[in-house]
Assembly symmetry: C2
Homo-oligomer: 289 residues x 2
Amino acid sequence: MLYESVDQAKKKGAGCPSSSKKANEQEEQEKMIQTTLGRIKHKIFVLSGKGGVGKSSVSANLAASLAKKGFKTGLMDVDLHGPSIAQMMGMTKLLDLSPNNLLLPQSFGENLKVVSIQALMQDKDQAIIWRGPAKTGMIKQFVGSVEWGDLDFLVIDAPPGTGDEPISVVQTIPDAKAVIVTTPQEVALADVRKSISFCRTVKIETLGIVENMGPFKCPHCNEVIELFKSGGGELTAKKEGLKFLGSIPFDMGVVASGDEGIPMMMQENPSNFSRAFDTIVENITQQLL
Amino acid sequence: MLYESVDQAKKKGAGCPSSSKKANEQEEQEKMIQTTLGRIKHKIFVLSGKGGVGKSSVSANLAASLAKKGFKTGLMDVDLHGPSIAQMMGMTKLLDLSPNNLLLPQSFGENLKVVSIQALMQDKDQAIIWRGPAKTGMIKQFVGSVEWGDLDFLVIDAPPGTGDEPISVVQTIPDAKAVIVTTPQEVALADVRKSISFCRTVKIETLGIVENMGPFKCPHCNEVIELFKSGGGELTAKKEGLKFLGSIPFDMGVVASGDEGIPMMMQENPSNFSRAFDTIVENITQQLL
């Protein structure tokens, strides 16, 4: 058979027999995961069908916005192949360990804590050439080994697609709710329909669709430029019966702030970008609170 | 152990015992792959560390350019989770089968043939929720079951990252040479260094780096806009001792042509985009011919 059934895929510990752990170790890991997740009220799983739509940037700014509004917020990057959150948040040092050997996330101000799977890597430019079953093990271990404390929100940034990593996140955090990020053009929307199909198949609730890199104004002449067309995200949401959470204009400040390591929403200047983000955060929180 | 060694990863048939086929079936598949690949002179593997840098668009336009120059060219999309090539090439019908049950690629003009793994899917909006070992099997089967005939070039569009699909491509087509696509900003370059590390680890030759979505001119005032900064691709190539193949300006025509299903390089209007592409194609072919 060429692919596993969804039931098989959802079964805990699916994968190669060679990667399965002893029963008691597994039980202990389960307990750690339950303890960690039990102290987190809402889990938001940010996903996209296509890479490069700004999923990590949306995750970082969503977490920063929630923290700004006074919510205790965590941001977790589980993208094994291209973790961007550490770079975007300007995280350069190794994470500390708690007395009981759990990872202590890095704090940004009073309410935001961040951890990236990159923290577990020795050389940050090293390619992680992992096969699926190893990735599942890694993600489970990662979720169970971070000391978040009590959180209102945990924002999870997963790699694009519908492969091992998103499956592993859904297995490990079954009450996570999805926010799907897309750009407006059809090539991206074709992939977003796959993300919607993924969420339905694995039965996780979808909070809605965010359209990123929408029309913006030329910094020289102020005329509107539709880089990746416009309106496709809203149209897809309507067709699929999902909530449209909002459109974020392309902003060169996002590129610069990502490289500098300070997300736009942690800065104080109001902009079309930050206003768009406020709307999205409100559309999300009003469904959860 | 959390990840397999490179040697294990390169071993043919690595994966779950449950997905391994009977020895004679496997032997027959190997033979088909060897027969198919033996008739193709040069295999170019287009990869990127990060998604959304325009890897599929570069693949499609690279293949179209080579065909335009008179080379018999094939374009193969092996991105299981987000295959974009079919959409970009305007492929809507099912592929025909040859008398011996091989997939017949769709022809575009005299020299270009295209096949997408999407051709094997029943519902194109269905998410492909596959785990690693199943993906390896699928890619091997796919490579062996296309009737390309004699080709000068085969351009292979793989999904981003350094996971199961790129590993499977390298296993199946060990003499493929890599073209790495990036955008200019640091967040993308961090991932490109992972691609370079991947190529070195699995020991495939790298033809060089293409920088995509470089500076472009505002369609209203003609001033230069650096959407994702500039120069990062060339800088990284220099640092890593790799050839810089060229920078492609962002072009809204690419977004539109991708959605319309006719790659820019199949159109006849000369533009900054097509000129940039001509340089890249020359920098690639002069290394191979």
